[in-house]
């Protein structure tokens, strides 16, 4: 971590990741436009820039796989933006594959030191080269320019291409002279861009070099637009600028606008530089200006989450200082120095408040919008729907909902899986949809919203719904539940069976999903995050999965319990209820203690025996059963006393205690004591595990 080159490398990975995400966003937007038969050259150009940056970065860090990929991809995107090849489905497919490839390559480069380029990269490169080599409709390059040669000389190939395209389309050319304040140039440029975008396209930005003050800069914007001059001025609104139409077929600029230019700035690389319409600086400079200004628009910092944890610990240390302050005030008071004591107490209160604010602030920094995951899911939906030949519309709401960074990271796999299921199992084929009177295009909705201290996530499809009876049959067939038990299940219990390992809603497995290993993993992952998942489904109407997640992993609501003089915390997310009982209500079935809870049988486990806790006093007659639930499996944990509910910060046990099962960590209980946090899932797993060998292994420790 401290090695500077490691840190640089880490920065590279996160930057590369960001670039790839931007690229993916651009492609998705392009794809959407393409389906509407439109195309936005700015998007292609942005994609090109992203890949170009990535190429540079990866060669700097010796990331050969990414380097090779971006090198070839850059060529294709360059051809695209210069109009040498048209954008079609095939190319879009290859581009999306390349984005996937980048993701995989990035993971590989990060984890391993292998030098060999994996075959998938080679395959991808081959595909990219194929589309790049495919001859598109020939663009006429021998076109006569309507524009001044001096202007053309400063344009990049891409800008020239855009200029030509716009002229061919019969658009008018304008030159906008705008003065920007250096401090606010980012905002100013963005504003102008937004306005121009509605009525045309900015072809290039060129600094005039004519700055009267040192705090401002003047830019000439070459703009192509469909509008007349007056309409354009009107459209641009009250921005402080000079608009001038560039006449066609002219050899020299309109006399009144000739700018006296210092010689040195009009020197061009080729040295042959005629009188110019616009002041010239090396084009590369203009481009760099442009990119740097774009970059500084985002005012964000990347921070390692461990640093935030560290800050949180410092807050803990400050809490000690606060305690000392309070004690000092008490002492002063007892010594009769009332005034000082009052002052100190006031200080203490102030400190207390600020400290609380600071803690809240740190927690807030950990929050990231769910949009990060949703974007990736958009790509998945596109990919899978193409693979399966289904038309899918993905509707996302609430992507601005914020949640703990650590949760977001762990969320993408489960969500991806559920989306796959929804497309593959949920949404019917187009013919079938038509025959039942649904639109051929299936809809998947991804909704996120905050509800109190929780974030709710819904994945909804308008497909055929889950065949509850089918799931039940499968579960019985696999021996997951007894045939007798099966008779009593309600519909929602039946649906809950999809979270058992091996149970699938489909008979045949395919490439996308349906091997029946999915939903139980999803459930486990969600519970690891302290979340719960529910499923609702109606035949022929659709399925809705609801995930409830805590907003932050840093703080969890827990039930504090006492058993045999030990205090433990159980996260409330895994507790469904707690009930008092006495031994009279217990029966022994098959060597296992069970109790009857509202007509159903609940297996129980005595926590003191399970954890081999020594008792100094006899077991109280009246005890409590805390009902913990994992999927459809429930277990009553027998405890002596319910202490109450408390928000706790879970800290993981050190490596020395890795082998100890049944605890997910420990927490400070407030009286300097540390309480262990019970991992209800692991305990249920252990107690109810069908194989006793497994249970014994889980219990075994060394030493």
């Amino acid at each position: 971590m401290t090695d500077p080159s490691d840190k640089a490398k880490e920065d590279f990975f996160s930057e590369a990741q960001e670039i790839i995400e931007t690229l993916s966003r651009n492609l998705l937007a392009l794809d959407e436009l393409h389906r509407k038969k439109g195309v936005d050259p700015a998007l292609i150009n942005e994609a090109f820039r992203a890949v170009h940056t990535l190429k540079g970065l990866s060669s700097l860090f010796g990331a050969t796989m990414i380097g090779a990929l971006s090198h070839h991809l850059e060529d294709v995107l360059d051809d695209l933006r210069l109009g040498r090849i048209p954008l079609d489905d095939l190319i879009l497919d290859v581009l999306f594959k390349a984005v996937e490839g980048f993701g995989r390559a990035l993971a590989l480069e990060r984890d391993s030191t292998q030098d060999r380029t994996p075959s998938f990269i080679e395959g991808l490169v081959a595909q990219i080269r194929k589309v790049a080599a495919a001859p598109g409709p020939q663009v006429d390059t021998s076109n006569e320019y309507d524009i001044d040669a001096g202007l053309l000389a400063v344009l990049t190939e891409y800008e020239e291409h855009r200029l030509r395209t716009n002229i061919q389309a019969g658009l008018r050319l304008y030159k906008l002279r705008v003065r920007f304040d250096l401090v606010t140039i980012d905002k100013g440029l963005e504003e102008i861009k937004d306005r121009v975008k509605k009525i045309g396209e900015i072809i290039t930005y060129l600094p005039t070099g004519e700055t009267s003050s040192i705090d401002s800069i003047e830019l000439d914007l070459l703009v192509a637009s469909t509008r007349e001059l007056d309409a354009l001025v009107l459209e641009l609104g009250n921005v402080d600028l000079i608009v001038e139409e560039v006449p066609r077929r002219q050899r020299r600029p309109s006399p009144e606008r000739v700018e006296p230019r210092p010689i040195e700035s009009s020197q061009h690389a080729d040295g042959t530089h005629p009188a110019s319409l616009v002041p010239v600086q090396p084009v590369a400079g203009a481009l760099v200006d442009n990119t740097t200004s774009l970059r500084s628009v985002s005012q964000t910092v990347r921070v390692d989450i461990r640093k935030l944890d560290h800050l949180m610990n410092i807050v803990g240390e400050l809490a000690i200082v606060r305690g000392t302050l309070a004690r000092l005030a008490d002492r002063l008071r007892s010594e009769g120095q009332r005034q000082s004591a009052t002052d100190l107490l006031r200080l203490h209160r102030n400190f207390d408040r600020r400290l609380a604010e600071m803690q809240e602030g740190i927690l807030e920094v950990r929050m990231v919008p769910l949009g990060q995951v949703f974007e990736r899911l958009g790509r998945v939906v596109r990919q899978i729907s193409r693979d399966l030949g289904k038309e899918i519309r993905l509707v996302i709401t609430g992507s601005e909902t914020e949640i703990d960074k650590l949760i977001v990271e762990e969320l993408s796999d489960p969500l991806m899986h559920m989306i796959r299921n929804a497309i593959d199992h949920g949404i019917e084929s187009a013919e079938r949809r038509l025959s039942v009177g649904k639109p051929t295009m299936g809809t998947i909705a991804l909704n996120a919203f905050q509800k109190g201290n929780h974030v709710m996530l819904e994945i909804e499809d308008d497909g055929r719904g889950i065949d509850a009876q089918g799931v039940l049959r499968k579960a019985v067939q696999l021996g997951k539940i007894g045939a007798e038990e099966a008779k009593d299940l309600s519909r929602s219990d039946m649906l809950g069976l999809i979270f058992l390992p091996g149970v699938s809603t489909r008979e045949e497995a395919n490439d996308v999903s349906g091997r029946g290993v999915g939903m139980d993993v999803v459930k486990t992952n969600i519970s690891k995050l302290g979340g719960v998942i529910d499923v609702h489904s109606e035949d022929g109407i659709g399925t809705k999965m609801t995930i409830t997640l805590p907003i932050t992993l840093a703080i969890v609501s827990a039930l504090l319990i006492r058993v045999a003089d030990h205090t433990f915390a159980i996260p409330l997310s895994s507790v469904s209820e707690a009930i008092g009982f006495d031994d009279a209500g217990l029966r022994v079935v098959d060597g296992r203690e069970v109790m009857t809870l509202r007509g159903t049988t609940l297996p129980i486990a005595r926590l003191d025996a399970l954890l081999s806790l020594a008792r100094s006093s006899p077991t109280p007659r009246r005890q409590y059963a805390v009902v913990a639930a994992l999927g459809v499996r429930r277990l009553g944990l027998v405890v002596d006393q319910l202490v109450g509910q408390q928000d706790i910060v879970i800290k993981s046990l050190g490596k020395t205690l890795d082998s100890v099962r049944g605890f997910s960590g420990a927490t400070e209980l407030g009286d300097q004591h540390v309480g262990l946090v019970i991992d209800a899932g692991a305990i249920i797993e252990e107690v109810l595990s069908a194989s006793d060998v497994g249970a014994r292994a889980a219990r075994a420790t060394y030493g």
Binding site: M312, N313, V315, G316, E317, A319, I320, V321, R322, G323, T324, A326, R327, L355, A356, Q359, E360, L363, I555, H566, L611, S612, L613, Q646, D647, I648, V649, K651, S652, L653, G654, K655, T656, L657, S659, V660, R661, G662, F663, G665, A666, E668, L669, G670, D671, Q672, H673, V674, G675, L676, R699, T701, Y702, G703
Partner: protein, 178 residues
């Protein structure tokens, strides 16, 4: 959020009053510029375990604490005494006596926890008492592999024999399990 904060108020308890006991040994270290000219010197912290004096290398010790309240961990290996919280950080405390198969005795006023870092994890080591820092020259260290039999000797670097002392020098890396 406020509620949670209250539970972090372990600043009020008696342990913190004793926090003044914490000896930041690093600041007490004496660096000798001319040590290269003489014999090389290693510093050891002399600690008591079941009536015997042991030495642990000073550079490995980050902090010495009066024992905070320990929470025993059910199912943990026998040599783990429990976990405690030191300024917000969760620390596993290992009983050096049990690790060295020595006799156990209850906590006394002299009981201390040494914090040491092992493979990125901070671990607490229980000792009966901390005596002093001893500076040993190479000639005062007797490499004594085999003296205690195979089982213990892997934890022992050697025997230190400064004037007036005999102490068993421990190898913390092998004592603290991975």
């Amino acid at each position: 959020m406020k509620k949670f904060f209250l539970h972090q108020m372990w600043g009020r308890g008696p342990r913190v009053q004793r926090m003044g006991d914490i000896v930041h040994i690093a600041s007490q270290r004496v660096f000798r510029r001319d040590s290269s000219e003489r014999e090389s010197i290693r510093e050891f912290l002399a600690v008591m375990l079941a009536g015997q004096t042991y030495g642990v290398e000073l550079t490995r010790i980050r902090e010495i604490l009066s024992p905070p309240p320990l929470t025993t961990v059910p199912r943990a290996p026998q040599h783990v005494m429990g976990v405690c919280s030191v300024r917000g950080q969760l620390i596993t405390v290992i009983d050096l006596r049990s690790r060295l198969r020595l006799q156990q005795a209850p906590f006394t006023r002299k009981t201390r926890i040494l914090l040491t870092e092992n493979a990125g994890e901070i671990v607490g080591l229980y000792v009966d008492e901390v005596r002093q820092v001893l500076r040993l020259t190479d000639s005062e260290i007797e490499l004594a592999t085999g003296v205690f039999g195979n089982d213990v000797s892997e934890h022992v670097i050697g025997i230190g024999r400064p004037p007036g002392y005999v102490l068993v020098l421990l190898d913390l890396t092998s004592i603290v399990p991975r």
